[in-house]
Symmetry: C2
Subunit: 253 residues, 2 copies
DNA sequence: CGGAACCTTGAGAGTAATCAACCCCCGTGG
DNA sequence: CCACGGGGGTTGATTACTCTCAAGGTTCCG
């Protein structure tokens, strides 16, 4: 179980070398972090944070670890709507403002700050830049979901897998967590299937083919190496730089 | 081409009989409407309001008519991300805050108020309830997209069609545009296919089967009648009342 | 050593896409 | 008045992609 060490969040949210999502204006950053840490709790991998249709915790700030936002059909078929990474802020409320529109689970051990409406409003008042950040993060999530939905509806299995890999690589890069020669995904092929709308069997086949064709390298359970970025981007149907701008909020200058 | 008559918008946005999305507090409603109408323009069906990747008009308020938000793959395959109905407010900006994450077209003749960032911020300041409304509408859109994405990934053709019909029926009901015995969709089967990720041929087959099974009635190009609501809801995998709460912001009390 | 969780590979089945032809409705213009 | 064309809708035949089922294989851990 992780401790409530905010350094990871600090890096993602506030940036390194005086750059960060909240901008160069350093006033109050430490106080903001302190407020977040006051509300932060650690949860073990697999913990259910919210259940679809239940009363929802309005706002979640991920300080460390990955969350999964998912929805399920009555027969248990599940779709992962989005992954929530360190530095992300999500609101799971549906249109009625009360119930959760999706289920949220801890994929890894996580540290999450849970904020009520009043708290969140107060924080927005104290740190005005926070509102703009939340808006940008929401737009990024929406852009990610739209891109992936397009490929769910109209893309082949290779397109969906290639897109999923590119999306996660770009997001990890944006928060400084993608080493130069590859990246690690804390996922099973079943997760990747629930993310791309494919069966785990077909995920296996498709990734194997991408590896065989020299486009990616796959080692020890989801250490992904990108061997031919141009080919992967072409199969995904994206331009990496453009996609990064649309889906992965970079630390603001 | 429609004129800039705000009455339809007024009904959807402000409600009838002193009820409406902005609540019972009537202060400034007329001024708000006037401001919107100042920025309103009429566009004919088929007009492109924004193109994916272009600089975006930050905020669009639909006063009358339907908009389509869509995305396309390089080979021209298109997915309709969401329909935008009278009374809806959408922001098409991606994470960078500047470019449009999706294309927006006028499905029917429309009247739309186009607001710049400064204007929108000013309006939010003058009518504080507007911000909360925009947040609720965004949550509703997100909930709709999530539900539909789940069915794109894991649902059969009948499930997707039934869900699409239920979604649009509930939305039209929420803005007082669904007559008791059915509703009209200004769509072709091709549109419905782009909305559900099916080919127009398969849309035809699937709707025909639903009609043959006595679940819906289809007349003169998309006049839909619901003959067996329970069956339709079961096929869609939803509970109508619950779904309505999640995806169709009702006029607030 | 056994079990559990996950990955891999093969075979067969089924759903939906594609291709193609035809129909209907409607507006246009000779 | 009718020929024409275009946009949709309908239906059938064929194709192809992905699912499901099934049987190992691997790794890790108690």
């Amino acid at each position: 179980m992780p401790t409530a060490d905010p350094s990871a969040f600090k890096t993602a949210m506030l940036g390194q070398k005086a750059r960060g999502r909240l901008g160069d204006d350093l006033r109050g950053k430490d106080a903001l972090l302190a407020t977040l840490c006051t509300n932060a709790r650690a949860f073990p991998a697999g913990h259910q944070l919210t259940i679809e249709g239940d009363e929802a915790a309005p706002v979640l700030c991920v300080i460390d670890g990955w969350l999964i936002q998912s929805k399920s059909l009555a027969d248990g078929q599940t779709l992962i709507i989005d992954f929530v990474l360190p530095g992300d802020i999500v609101s799971v409320a549906a249109a009625d403002g009360a119930t959760a529109a999706s289920q949220v689970d801890a994929l890894t051990d996580v540290v999450v700050a849970t904020l009520g409406t009043a708290q969140w409003d107060g924080m927005k008042r104290d740190w005005p830049a926070l509102d703009g950040l939340a808006v940008r993060l929401a737009a990024a999530s929406r852009a990610r979901i739209s891109e992936r939905m397009l490929r769910l509806a109209k893309g082949s299995a290779p397109t969906r897998i290639a897109y999923a890999l590119m999306e996660m690589w770009l997001r990890l890069q944006a928060i400084g967590r993608a080493p130069a020669h590859g990246f690690h995904l804390p996922l099973t092929q079943q997760h990747l299937g629930d993310f791309t709308g494919l069966s785990s069997v077909h995920v296996c086949r498709t990734m194997r083919r991408l590896a065989h064709d020299g486009i990616i390298r796959v080692e020890n359970h989801m250490d992904i190496g990108i061997r031919d970025l141009a080919a992967l981007a072409r199969i995904a149907g994206i331009d990496p730089e453009e996609l990064s701008r649309e889906i992965a909020p970079a630390p603001a200058a």
